[in-house]
């Protein structure tokens, strides 16, 4: 009844949870599968072949840090042979000029490098390790080789006031895309929400800087600004709809509609070691549970925005209310909206702020 009507465009392949950084907003789960359980090169080859047959065109190699895989070049070469447009999402710590040349040689299409702030002191403090200077050097090496480059910064109360400096840095590095992405509160970020969420005043200032920059840099730099959904009136159209355009394969082979969906413990998780990817996409209870519009309760059921935001985020509904099948509490029409209002109120009061908990 909710069977897939669409082929997925994108696969987020989380190759490993290993990572040299310790960012307190990491989207990886609080409890991660062990490196011993990681899919092998042969298993990834099979997954990628199945994904291409399923219709995936964009392959995002992520983690953790994908360069921690010793077989990253083999995985990439295979991906290019299969016809994917390949995107490496990296902390760039081990992205030396030599490594960048090797990645170019096997056909990598696009690189995304994260930095944590516009200057080394704060960037290294947020990353939990000295890393800023190596990231900038890597960005230059990548551009020198002609890769299209996206610079990604996760925004929060400690760095959102640096947006003008981040824009200047992106301009100086001649990056092609700049993602200024406010923290979304899952995993480690939810754990640190009270310390990470920006204030209303901070957001107003940030958005004004972004508006001006979009006009000034229109010809040169694509700026993607992701709002913090706790401050919006309606929820985000999470993943473009559940099981509609994207899927995620975790380091141990679990297949999820999004990277956070593993936490919805009421849904049975399928794994590529047991099932073909096509069956998981088309027929698994997890992917069919929130497909389309039939699952929706009120107020979504009768809402004209149901085809715009798809009821918001299932993971957020689950983690804030314990029920993944209710309207995303971010929506001001949600009966659970007071949970979000309370979190926002706390951040905008003068209550004492606790310390960041770093990902380990």
């Amino acid at each position: 009844m909710n069977k897939a009507s669409n082929r997925p465009f994108g696969l987020l392949a989380e190759l490993t949870y290993r990572c040299p950084l310790h960012c307190p907003y990491c989207s990886n789960p609080l409890i991660m599968s062990s490196p011993h359980e990681e899919l092998t090169l042969e298993e990834w080859s099979r997954v990628l072949t199945e994904a291409r047959t399923l219709g995936v065109l964009q392959l995002h190699l992520s983690g953790g840090e994908p360069l921690q895989r010793h077989d990253i070049l083999e995985i990439l070469a295979q991906a290019r042979t299969l016809g994917f447009y390949t995107n490496l999402i990296t902390s760039a710590l081990s992205l030396t000029p030599t490594k960048a040349e090797q990645l170019k040689a096997v056909g990598l299409d696009h690189v995304q490098i994260s930095i944590q702030a516009a200057e080394p002191l704060l960037s290294d403090r947020i990353a939990g390790t000295p890393s800023y200077h190596r990231k900038i050097a890597a960005a230059r090496a990548v551009k020198a080789l002609g890769f299209p480059l996206t610079l990604n910064i996760v925004l929060h109360r400690h760095n959102i006031d640096q947006i003008a400096a981040l824009l200047a840095l992106a301009e100086e590095l001649a990056v092609d895309r700049l993602e200024l992405a406010n923290t979304q509160y899952y995993g480690w970020a939810l754990h640190n929400r009270a310390v990470l969420m920006p204030t209303w005043e901070q957001l107003q200032r940030a958005e004004s800087v972004v508006r001006d920059a979009r006009i000034r840099l229109a010809q040169r730099l694509q700026i993607i600004y992701v709002i913090p959904d706790y401050y919006s009136r309606y929820p985000k159209p999470c993943m473009g709809g559940w099981g509609h355009q994207q899927l995620t394969v975790t380091p141990n082979g679990d297949v999820l509609p999004c990277p956070a969906a593993g936490q919805i413990i009421t849904l049975p998780i399928e794994n590529v070691r047991q099932r073909p990817l096509t069956w998981i996409w088309d027929d698994s209870p997890m992917f069919n549970r929130f497909r389309g519009l039939d699952w929706m309760p009120e107020p979504c059921k009768s809402c004209p925005r149901q085809t715009i935001d798809f009821g918001g985020c299932r993971c957020q509904a689950f983690q804030l209310t314990g029920d993944a099948a209710v309207t995303d509490p971010v929506c001001h029409l949600s009966p659970h909206h007071s949970i979000v209002e309370e979190a926002v109120r706390e951040v905008n009061s003068d209550e004492e702020i606790s310390d960041l908990v770093y990902r380990r």
């Binding site: 291409r52 219709g55 447009y85 092609d176 229109a218 010809q219």
Partner: protein, 99 residues
């Protein structure tokens, strides 16, 4: 010479930029343009336009060629589609007239 996102003129000579890749997708049975964080599925007219974007032909040549093939006026279709590609930064454009 400019690289992106100006309104396309008749003397401009466009071609797909190095960041974009034109490819046949056997699953959707369509030509697609792949780019950083995006996919553009092409209809038959779009495929015909992209095929002529070789950096040698100018927009006026492309329009003439396609008008002959389709036996109708295609000026607006071609300009609208090329402007769309330019705004997505998918074209490298040389334009001697515009310098």
């Amino acid at each position: 010479m400019s690289s992106t996102s100006h309104e396309m003129t008749l003397s401009a000579r466009p071609r797909l930029c190095a960041h974009a890749r034109l490819q046949w997708d056997p699953v959707r049975e369509k030509q697609v343009i792949l780019m950083p964080e995006g996919v553009l599925a092409l209809n038959a007219t779009a495929v015909a336009i992209v095929a002529l974007c070789d950096g040698q032909r100018c927009v006026a040549d492309i329009i003439t060629t396609l008008s002959g093939q389709y036996n109708r006026t295609v000026d607006q279709d071609v300009l609208a589609f090329l402007n769309r590609l330019a705004n997505k930064r998918l074209l490298d454009v040389t334009d001697e007239q515009g310098e």
